[in-house]
C-alpha cells in the first residue's frame, strides 16, 4: 500500500513537473534560426545592372533601386562587429499610427514621411544630433482617415532630381524642393468621397512619377497614373478594370496565358457594371526595368471580398501588369489569383533578377506573393517558370504551369450562409506588403512573412460610395506550429528555404540585406534584429519603444561611416489593434486581424520614433 502511495506521489510529481515544463514551453518561441538546406555556391540570381546601379551610399527610393533589392553594398558593419552597434541619434515623428515608410538619405540629409498627416521632415546629418532642416505639412483632409482600410499608413517618399515626391492619404501627389522644403507642385488624384486614398510610395523613372490608388475594401476602381516629374501633370492613366481602352490595352498587349487573352476582359469577367466598383487598386510596389523600359506592378483584391457577388475571373485584379513606361500601354499581364477568394492582393514587391538558365542569363522577376507561392517569372513575357509554396497553404493545390492558373481547393471556397474554417493562408496572405530583401552576394531572398489562417463567413455587401464594400466576417489565428511570423531565407534557384526563423508575432516589418553579410528586420513588439545572412544566427538586437513595421535602410553618413536606420511605430493592418485602440474582445475587428494579435496591446504601445545606429568611432 505504501509502495503504491509512493508510486502515485512519484507519478503526480512527474506530472506536475511535466505540466510545469509544458508551461515553460508556452513562452514565446525564441528566435533561433533553423537551417533547412545548405547554402550552395556557384552561379545564382543577380540583379540586372541597369536596374541596380553601384551603391553610392544614399538611399533615394524605398526599394533602394529599380530592381527593388533593398540591398546595401556597405560593408563596415559585419557579423564580427555588429554586437557593438549602438544608437547614434533618434527623432520623434509625433505620430501614433503605423509607420511603414523608410527614411531616405541623400547627400547628408535624411527625409522622413509620417503616416497621416503625412508630414515630411528633413534632418541635417552633417550636424550633431541631426537637427531639423525643414518640415513640410501637406495638411490632408482629416476625413480621409475614415476611408483608409488598414490604418492611416504611408509607405514612403522618393527622391529625384532635387525633389522629394510623396503621396498623401487624401489622394494627392506632392513634390517639394529637397533643399528648401518649398512646394513645387501638387496634384489631386484620388477622391475620398469614392473611398480612394493613396498609401503607396511613388516610383520615379524616366521623368515620370508612378502613382496608384488604395481602396480595394471600399469599392473603388483601381488605377495607376504617370505624372510628369517636372509639372505634376498626368501623362497617362490606366485603369485596372473596365474596357480595354481604359486599361490601355492595345496592339502591344501579349499576355502569355490564354485566359488573359481576349477583348474587354476587364468588363466580361465581371457581372454587369461590377467592374466599376471592383477594386484592383495599386497600393503596393512598382519596379522598373530600364533595359526593357517596362514598369511592373501588382493589382489588389477585387471587391467586394464576398466572391459570390462577382462570378468570373474579375480581371485585372490580383495580378501583375507590365506596362510601357512612356505610354502606359499594357505589354503583358498574369493573374495570380483568378476570382480571388481570400483578399489575396497581388501588390507585393517585384524583385528583378537575372538567373542562370541553360548556360545564359534569363531576365526574371521574383515574387513572394500573398497567395503563398514564390513566383519566378520571365519579365519579358509573363511566363511563370516556377511557383513554389514558401509558407503553409491549404487553400490551393498549386499553380498549373501550362495554364498559369492557381488550382483551388473547393471546400475552402467561402460561400454565403456558411463559415469556412481553417483557410491558410489567411486574408493577409503568407506575406503582405512588407518587402523582402535580395542579396546578390548570397543570391537569397530574405522574406519577412506570416503564418496565419482564418475562418471566414461571407454575406451580401451593399455598395454605398465612401463606405466599406466587403461582405465578409473573418477571424484569423496562428497557422500550424503556433508562431504567427516567419523570417525565411529563400533560394530562388533551388526553390527552397535555406534557413528560417520562427517569430511569435506576425512579421509586418520589411527586410534589409547588406554586403557586410547581415540581414535586418523588426518585430511588432519592438525588437530590431541583425542576423547572419548565411545562417540566420541572431547576432544583435535592440528593443525600440514601439513595434517595428518600418522599412530599415543603410547609408553612408557624411563622416564616411555606415549607418543603419529604421523607424519604429506599431500599426498597419496587423497593428491596428494598438494604433486604433481597438477592443480585442471582438474577433472580427480589423477585418479579422485583431483576433490573431489580441496580445499585442500588452506587448507594444503606439508612437513613431526614428532610430539610427552606427558602430562606435
Amino acid at each position: 500500500m505504501r509502495r503504491v502511495a509512493t508510486a502515485v506521489l512519484t507519478v503526480s510529481a512527474a506530472l506536475t513537473g511535466a505540466a510545469l515544463a509544458s508551461c515553460n514551453k508556452q513562452q514565446p518561441p525564441t528566435s533561433q534560426a533553423r537551417i533547412l538546406a545548405p547554402l550552395t555556391s556557384g552561379p545564382h540570381a543577380l540583379p540586372p545592372a541597369a536596374a541596380s546601379p553601384v551603391d553610392d551610399g544614399n538611399w533615394v527610393m524605398p526599394g533602394k533601386d529599380y530592381a527593388s533589392t533593398r540591398f546595401s553594398a556597405l560593408t563596415q558593419v559585419t557579423p564580427a562587429n555588429v554586437r557593438n552597434l549602438g544608437v547614434a541619434f533618434t527623432f520623434s515623428t509625433a505620430t501614433t499610427h503605423g509607420y511603414e515608410a523608410p527614411p531616405l538619405v541623400v547627400n547628408g540629409t535624411m527625409y522622413l514621411i509620417t503616416p497621416f498627416p503625412n508630414d515630411v521632415y528633413a534632418l541635417d546629418l552633417t550636424k550633431p544630433g541631426a537637427p531639423t532642416k525643414w518640415v513640410f505639412k501637406p495638411k490632408p483632409i482629416a476625413a480621409s482617415q475614415g476611408v483608409a482600410c488598414c490604418d492611416v499608413v504611408n509607405r514612403g517618399a522618393v527622391y529625384s532630381n532635387g525633389k522629394i515626391i510623396f503621396n498623401t492619404l487624401d489622394g494627392q501627389t506632392i513634390a517639394v524642393d529637397a533643399n528648401s522644403g518649398q512646394q513645387i507642385w501638387r496634384t489631386q488624384l484620388g477622391n475620398i468621397q469614392k473611398g480612394e486614398t493613396i498609401t503607396m510610395a511613388p516610383l520615379v523613372a524616366g521623368g515620370k512619377v508612378l502613382v496608384g490608388d488604395s481602396g480595394g475594401e471600399m469599392g473603388v476602381r483601381g488605377w495607376i497614373a504617370a505624372l510628369d516629374e517636372g509639372s505634376g501633370k498626368v501623362v497617362w492613366k490606366a485603369f485596372n478594370t473596365g474596357p480595354d481602352k481604359d486599361v490601355l490595352i492595345g496592339s502591344r498587349f501579349k499576355p502569355f496565358y490564354a485566359s488573359d487573352q481576349g477583348k474587354d476582359l476587364g468588363v466580361k469577367t465581371w457581372p454587369p457594371d461590377a467592374w466599376k466598383i471592383g477594386g484592383a487598386t495599386v497600393w503596393g510596389w512598382v519596379s522598373y526595368d530600364p533595359a526593357l523600359n517596362l514598369i511592373y506592378y501588382g493589382t489588389s483584391n477585387p471587391g467586394p471580398w464576398n466572391p459570390d457577388q462577382r462570378p468570373g475571373d474579375n480581371k485585372w485584379s490580383t495580378g501583375v501588369f507590365a506596362r510601357d513606361l512612356n505610354t502606359g500601354e499594357a505589354v503583358w499581364y498574369y493573374q495570380s489569383s483568378p476570382h480571388d477568394l481570400f483578399d489575396h492582393d497581388d501588390i507585393n514587391e517585384i524583385i528583378l533578377a537575372d538567373i542562370p538558365w541553360n548556360g545564359a542569363r534569363r531576365p526574371v522577376m521574383l515574387r513572394p506573393a500573398r497567395n503563398g507561392y514564390f513566383y519566378v517569372m520571365d519579365r519579358r513575357n509573363g511566363q511563370v517558370l516556377s511557383a513554389t509554396p514558401y509558407g503553409y497553404i491549404n487553400s490551393s493545390k498549386g499553380v498549373d504551369l501550362k495554364s498559369g492558373r492557381l488550382i483551388p481547393v473547393a471546400e475552402k471556397e467561402p460561400k454565403s450562409g456558411r463559415v469556412t474554417r481553417n483557410i491558410c493562408p489567411a486574408a493577409p496572405g503568407a506575406k503582405d506588403w512588407n518587402p523582402a530583401a535580395f542579396s546578390p552576394i548570397t543570391g537569397l531572398i530574405y522574406i519577412p512573412h506570416l503564418n496565419l489562417c482564418m475562418d471566414e463567413g461571407v454575406m451580401e455587401a451593399n455598395y454605398i460610395s465612401g463606405t466599406p464594400y466587403l461582405g465578409a466576417d473573418a477571424k484569423m489565428y496562428a497557422g500550424p506550429g503556433g508562431n504567427r511570423g516567419v523570417f525565411t531565407a529563400w533560394d530562388p534557384m533551388r526553390r527552397r528555404a535555406v534557413w528560417e526563423i520562427k517569430e511569435d508575432l506576425p512579421l509586418w516589418s520589411p527586410a534589409l540585406a547588406t554586403a557586410g553579410g547581415l540581414v535586418f528586420y523588426g518585430t511588432m513588439d519592438g525588437w530590431f534584429k541583425a542576423v547572419d545572412a548565411r545562417s540566420g544566427k541572431l547576432l544583435w538586437q535592440f528593443k525600440a519603444g514601439s513595434g517595428i513595421i518600418g522599412q530599415p535602410i543603410s547609408y553612408r553618413g557624411p563622416d564616411g561611416r555606415q549607418y543603419i536606420a529604421v523607424v519604429a511605430g506599431v500599426g498597419g493592418w496587423a497593428g491596428a489593434i494598438v494604433a486604433g485602440k481597438m477592443d480585442p474582445r471582438d474577433p472580427t475587428g480589423a477585418l479579422g486581424f485583431a483576433n490573431a494579435v489580441k496580445d499585442l496591446p500588452m506587448k507594444s504601445t503606439a508612437g513613431g520614433m526614428l532610430y539610427v545606429f552606427a558602430l562606435p568611432r
Binding site: G457, Y469, P584, D586, T588
Partner: protein, 184 residues
C-alpha cells in the same frame, strides 16, 4: 400547503411575469408621429458654461432605448449601411471600437444619433439625408447596445455574424460615461 394554494401562487407569478413582459417595450403604433429631427449638435461630455449641466436627454431616446424591435432593426441597418466594415462587431478597425467604455463624441443615445446624422471630422460619414430620422435612432440604439447598455431582455440572443461573435445577451455592460467617472 394545499395544491390549490400552490396553483394560485403559480398563477400570480405568471401574471407578474406577463406584466413585466408587457413593460419591456412600447411600440407606439397608434401614437402621434414623432417630430422628425435629430438632436442637432448634442455635445459629448464636456464643459457647459454657466449651468455646469448637460442638456436633458432628448425625450425621443425613451422610445428607442430598451426597445427590442428598434434594436433588431438597428442591428440590420448596422450591416446594411456598412457600419460593420469600419467598426466590426464592436471591436473597431477603420473606425473606433463601439463595445468599450470610451465615447469620443458622447455615449448618450441622442449623442450617438447626432454623431450618425452629422458625421465626425476624422472620417465618420454623415448619414443625414441618407437614412430617415427613425432609422438613425434605431441604429444609435443598436450601437449603444454593443457596450451592453440596454436591458438583456431587449437585445438579440444571437449574433447575425460568424458564430465567434458574442450575442447581445452576453455582452457585458460597460460604464456609459467613463470619462466622467474617471475624473470624479
Amino acid at each position: 400547503m394545499s395544491s390549490r394554494f400552490r396553483a394560485s401562487a403559480l398563477a400570480i407569478a405568471l401574471a407578474a411575469l406577463a406584466i413585466a413582459g408587457c413593460d419591456r417595450e412600447e411600440r407606439h403604433s397608434r401614437s402621434k408621429p414623432v417630430t422628425e429631427t435629430i438632436p442637432a449638435g448634442q455635445s459629448p461630455d464636456t464643459i457647459y458654461p454657466g449651468t455646469g449641466t448637460a442638456p436633458p436627454l432628448d425625450a425621443r431616446a425613451a422610445l428607442y432605448d430598451n426597445n427590442a424591435p428598434a434594436l433588431a432593426e438597428g442591428q440590420m441597418l448596422y450591416t446594411q449601411m456598412n457600419c460593420v466594415g469600419c467598426h466590426s462587431h464592436g471591436g473597431g478597425g477603420m473606425g473606433p471600437a463601439l463595445m468599450d467604455d470610451e465615447w469620443r463624441y458622447g455615449g448618450r443615445l441622442d449623442q450617438i444619433a447626432a454623431t450618425i446624422a452629422e458625421g465626425r471630422p476624422n472620417g465618420m460619414p454623415a448619414w443625414r439625408g441618407k437614412l430617415t430620422q427613425d432609422q438613425i435612432w434605431k441604429l444609435a440604439a443598436y450601437v449603444r447596445s454593443l457596450s451592453g447598455q440596454p436591458s438583456k431582455d431587449a437585445v438579440s440572443s444571437r449574433a447575425d455574424a460568424m458564430s465567434a461573435t458574442t450575442p447581445g445577451t452576453l455582452t457585458p455592460r460597460e460604464p456609459a460615461h467613463s470619462s466622467d467617472t474617471a475624473q470624479q
